[in-house]
Amino acid sequence: MKLHIKNGRVIDPANGIDNVQDLFIADGRIVAAADGFTPDQTIDASGLVVAPGLVDLSARLREPGYEYKATLESELQAAMQGGVTTLVCPPDTDPVLDEPGLVEMLKHRARIVDQANVHPLGALTVGLKGQALTEMAELTEAGCVGFAQAEEPILDTNVLLRALQYAKTFGFTVWLRPQDAHIGRGGVAASGPLASRLGLSGVPVMSETIALHTIFELMRATGARVHLCRLSSAAGLELVKAAKKEGLDVTCDVGIHHLHMTDADIGFFDSNARLTPPLRSGRDRDAIRAAVLDGTIDAVCSDHTPVDDDEKLLPFGEASPGATGLELLLSLTLKWAQDQHDDKEKALLLAIGKITHQAAKIAGLPAGTLTVGAPADVVLFDPDTLWRVEQAALASQGKHTPFLGFEVAGQVKATIVRGRVAYQR
């Protein structure tokens, strides 16, 4: 299968490219332009951006175990509609992804569905219980790209120390969302004036910063590589910045919701804004936006967490946290770039980098670039088309997002996976 995408504005942040030019694909890979290239299919991408397929560092597919919330079929279709060609999924399924067989099964199912490339994170500890280490080497062979505790912080710091030492031995990356196991437990909103007013139990910023201090100290002792998931606070980002400056082997990401929203978006107890970590103050949100620009934040992820109606249409504190995100990753990242008034073009290149090659690098994947020889995962989108976020517009089985009703720019026109046009609008 040979594909010729012509006249598009090719944006490839990994190579610093932002030009109107043609792109050639053969046998599932990006190829150089050559005389006599006879395409089987030509796509006219005039007026469209041609970018590497998006790489999402956190997308819950809910399989195995939570098929009533979402299935691989529904969520990978959502990925295609959102231009996401590579995604990393956390291990908090049922059963937890702590055995090679389960990982192989998930990879096998994903191959059958044959859409986005699915890369699971293995559980760092058996059952995410924070007691015994998993067989990390075996799990890596089965296809895990890293090890995580998802939303279960490790109570016993000694276990975390051992986990980092062991991961370091084999060069594995440990993915941790910094949260103290005790402070803020049971909290449903960011501690602060809004939570106090609404009578919601709070999660203080120190839940994040205390965990970061612990993680950094353990990194100093072990030399392990850690990827920090979904930072939520200005104070947390300050610590990450200092750790990077110190030379610790650390990267971090942020979810799309926290890039735009604050706790005030909870409004009148809107359970769609019930997220983990919780949305924080305007000051925190502004720090997150600045940290994307200055590079403290390496990647932006969708934090895709489909939740069904029965678990969302509940009083705020009882509702399951999480929102659908695969189909919003592109538009909400573009929106961040649009808001950078100094240099929109540069911001666009930078923003796309955070959802392509920079994310791929964290996961150690050869994705997120249009370099000749790279896998031909490509997204074509119109950066100016506006669309309204509505339940009916979403392919994901998760229909809940605090962005419902918003109009956003950036619509995917085609998604190409391994050289095959997998989605076209």
Binding site: P193, L194, G199, L200, F316
Partner: protein
């Protein structure tokens, strides 16, 4: 890109459709409720304690959390308005059978309920019900009878009625709220009501473990020293300390709490000589309040209960549109 929503308790004309919280109400809303209540106070002294304002209307008391006291006052208020009252203790019935909260509401609305009085352990639960009804049954009203730590608006209003009764003018008062502010929906409703009515100084007194962050943004001065906090106040609102909070990580013991924050005659003497002492009940004598104070001349705790009936009658008849 904010999306603006009207407050779910107001209809499109800015009138009260539901009573969910005091926050955001205009002073005129509160005055209207208090004025209406004062016209009802006399009714309870009559031989026939009833007015026909809600004859033929059905009021459903939906208590997802136990409360004999509040439920009873709503029941009495409904009956004095001649409404039919149906008490449902939901904990014990449908939700344990797996029926969702909104299914329950739909079913009861289909039985032609006119008003739901809702108590729920989760902050915001009555909002969810009101918003659902705003979409499906705009003729049904919701009264929040206490949700989580968030609001207890009728208690807040009856407290305002009591203060107005004894103090007449709000704009020269110092009011102290004492105790477990962190977990108290009454404190939050009182604070919103007091600041809306123009009270120049609202104080919150308690140990740091029981004072939530962000009180300053609500217009409250915080004190951790009870003696300092009570000095020269006109009104003292004592809060109930829940049993489960008396020992643990928030407080070491009930005895120590009483020593530091119990209202004794000596401490009461620090307030203005004509200060009144209020309590939403039920009281823990010897934990937050000394019996000599609770039964003393400055306590207005029983009048609060009496006024509570009139205030709830006022709220229900105003919502039902039967009282202009």
């Amino acid at each position: 890109m904010p999306i603006l929503h009207n407050h779910p308790q107001l209809n499109k004309h800015g009138e009260l459709q539901h009573l969910l919280t005091i926050e955001g109400l205009k002073k005129s809303h509160i005055d209207h409720i208090l004025d209406t209540a004062s016209s009802f106070v006399g009714i309870s002294d009559r031989e026939v304690k009833k007015v026909p304002l809600m004859r033929g209307k059905s009021v459903f008391n939906l208590f997802f959390e136990n409360s004999t006291r509040t439920r009873t006052t709503f029941e009495i208020a409904s009956k004095r308005l001649s409404a039919d009252v149906i008490n449902l203790n939901i904990q014990a019935s449908s939700t344990t059978k797996g029926e969702s909260l909104l299914d329950t509401i739909d079913n009861l609305a289909a039985m032609h309920a006119d008003m739901f009085v809702v108590r729920h352990a989760q902050s915001g639960a009555p909002y969810m019900i009101a918003q659902h009804l705003n979409r499906t049954r705009s003729d049904v009203h919701v009264v929040n009878a206490g949700d989580g730590r968030h609001a207890h608006p009728t208690q807040g209003l009856l407290d305002m009625y009591t203060i107005r009764h004894y103090k007449k003018d709000f704009t020269n008062l110092r009011v102290a709220i004492v105790g477990d502010i962190l977990h108290s929906r009454v404190a939050r409703s009182d604070i919103h009501a007091l600041t809306t009515l123009g009270v120049p100084e609202v104080r919150a007194i308690g140990p740091h473990t029981l004072l939530p962050g962000g009180l300053e943004q609500m217009g409250v001065r915080t004190f951790t020293n009870m003696d300092e906090g009570l000095r020269d106040v006109d009104v003292i609102i004592m809060l109930r300390l829940q049993n489960e909070r008396m020992s643990g990580a928030l407080l070491p013991s009930a005895q120590e709490y009483f020593k530091s924050y119990g209202l004794t005659p000596e401490r009461l003497a620090l307030a203005k000589p004509d200060a009144i002492v209020m309590h939403p009940g039920p009281m823990n004598r010897g934990v937050e309040i000394d019996s000599a104070v609770a039964d003393g001349a400055q306590a207005v705790i029983l009048p609060q209960v009496t006024f509570g009936i009139a205030v709830r009658m006022a709220v229900m008849s105003i919502l039902a549109g039967t009282h202009a």
